[in-house]
Amino acid sequence: MNQRFSIVPVFYLAFLLIPLYWLLTMSFKPMKEIAGQLTLYPKSPTLNHYQVIFSDSSWYLGYLNATIYVLMNVAICLAAAIPAAYAFSRYHFFGSRSLFFSLLAFRMMSPAILLIPIVQIFSDLNLIDTYIAVALAHCFFNLPIAIWILEGFISSVPAELDELARIDGYNLATYFRKILLPEIAPGIAVAAFFCFLFSWTEVILSNALTTIDVKPIGAIMSRVSSVFTANVPILSAAGVLTLIPGILIVILVRRHLTRGFSMGRVD
């Protein structure tokens, strides 16, 4: 369709960018300037707040901790989701549709609903304040997403390919490794991206499951915020830094992003 230049997306862009700009300016303003009066840009910009974060291990370890359990979660989810998505895509087995929906229903549950028992279970397993506890707990909402996305991608690979591979003497494992996985590589990237995203942004469970060693950045931020106004600039700097991984990954998977958001079902 022919299209003229429209101003509408520009307005929306401004609406999105102004709050981000505000966070960025706050992170470069000295405390005195913030408390004094409203300034539209940092009059005397400083890197102090970033320095504090990078020199204090109770801050910068927060990023490392979150990154570690998020990557563990992504690995676990993909390893379990790829065969499951294949099963949903290729076999019509007893209960497949209701099972598929049950998985989705868990994705829709708020961490608030399952918070108490999850903390109890992981404390009974002696896993409180470990990376694996958070990585496993985040499975209940990430695994269904990964399966749903991958099922869409696998379904777009013709089933005849499975047949041909079998005739060529491939068993299921070789077929996965040699044919299916390269075919659905974009789908795997997108599923990994969404698992990363939801695990990285979640704070209720990751805060409750960690105490000292494994505290993620979100939980550290919420603890600092109790003495609020004094910490506006440092919270801003910490917030700016949390944006970096997301932006990097979105640039990498940009072409497949929309398909992932629609769980592989655009048309």
């Binding site: 981000l20 499951a84 399952l114 279970i121 995203l197 942004t201 929309t258 769980m263």
Partner: protein
């Protein structure tokens, strides 16, 4: 119908998923149900109390109010974000550098930790030194965070800022699937812009809008962190949504029975709504071919 061997293979492929979901989802939810049917003192002994907690929660005016607030918030969010998202998607350039740039920047709010979203908006409305509150003051209004209406507007603005891009990206992708021939045919028929939207674009967007509606409903209905950072349920109880009420009951008062009953009711609403959307999304799609075979 699939053979027994295929069944066995399918369940084999599913077994890691089932184990993980049982550990992280099914057992925790079963425990919530168990709590909701028992009374306990400090989690030591459990005494069966039947539906007492459910009666208490369902009869409580605070619960009704929190439920209404959450539903109201979700409906407002959908009513604003779906039309706005469709409109922006229609106006986006189809290709070129600008199109790519828009998509990357539009995605940024979706990737932010919810707690950071809360702080950004908190900083925007700080009295005297917030950009938004001072801008509003410049126009001669008072940005009064003790006014429930102002706090609600801020929360809706924040949620719209955070999530409208999801609708935009989905609709943008949906619109790309419409063949050019449709538009050419419409041009020959002399169809106006509205007729094109109503009869060509909107029907094609049905599926992505269902997905967008489902995701937007769920995520606005379970809103917690951002709302807590920004307003802590206040002023008064005016933004005390269901999830805030639930976490308050379950973790701060440590009232497992009442919190459990609340969680089960909450989950039931979520699942029913999810089912309504799901049953319209999936039959039209890939699973249909399996149901047929």
């Amino acid at each position: 119908m699939a053979s027994t061997a295929q069944h066995r293979l399918a369940y084999g492929l599913l077994s890691p998923t089932l184990v993980l979901m049982i550990l992280s989802g099914v057992i925790p939810f079963a425990l919530v149900v168990y709590f909701s049917l028992h009374d306990t003192f400090a989690g030591e002994h459990y005494i069966w109390v039947g539906t007492t907690w459910y009666e208490q929660v369902l009869g409580s005016t605070e619960f009704h109010a929190a439920l209404l607030r959450s539903l109201g918030f979700s409906i407002l969010a959908l009513a604003i974000q779906l039309p706005l998202g469709i409109y922006i998607a229609l106006k986006l350039p189809v290709q070129g550098l600008l199109s790519k740039l828009y998509i990357i920047i539009f995605a940024i709010p979706l990737l932010m930790p919810v707690i950071v979203v809360g702080y950004i908006w908190k900083f925007l409305v700080l009295p005297k030194i917030g950009l938004l509150s001072e801008f509003v003051a410049l126009l001669g209004w008072n940005y009064d965070l003790n006014d429930p209406v102002v706090v609600w507007i801020t929360l809706i603005l924040m949620n719209t800022w955070h999530w409208t891009s999801l609708v935009v990206l989905l609709c943008f992708a949906g619109l790309r699937t419409i063949p050019d021939a449709y538009y050419q045919a419409a041009a020959i028929d002399g169809a106006g812009r509205w007729a094109i939207f109503r009869h060509i674009q909107l029907p094609k967007l049905r599926l992505v809008l269902l997905i967008a509606g489902l995701l937007r409903f769920m995520d606005s209905f379970i809103i917690y962190t951002e709302a807590y950072v920004l307003a802590r349920g206040g002023p008064g109880v005016s933004t005390n949504f269901l999830s805030l009420e639930l976490i308050q009951t379950a973790t701060i008062q440590f009232d497992l029975g009442e919190g459990g009953a609340m969680a089960v009711i909450y989950a039931t609403i979520v699942v029913v709504v999810a089912w309504l959307f799901f049953s319209r999304i999936i039959p039209s799609q890939s699973m249909k071919s399996q149901e047929d075979t």
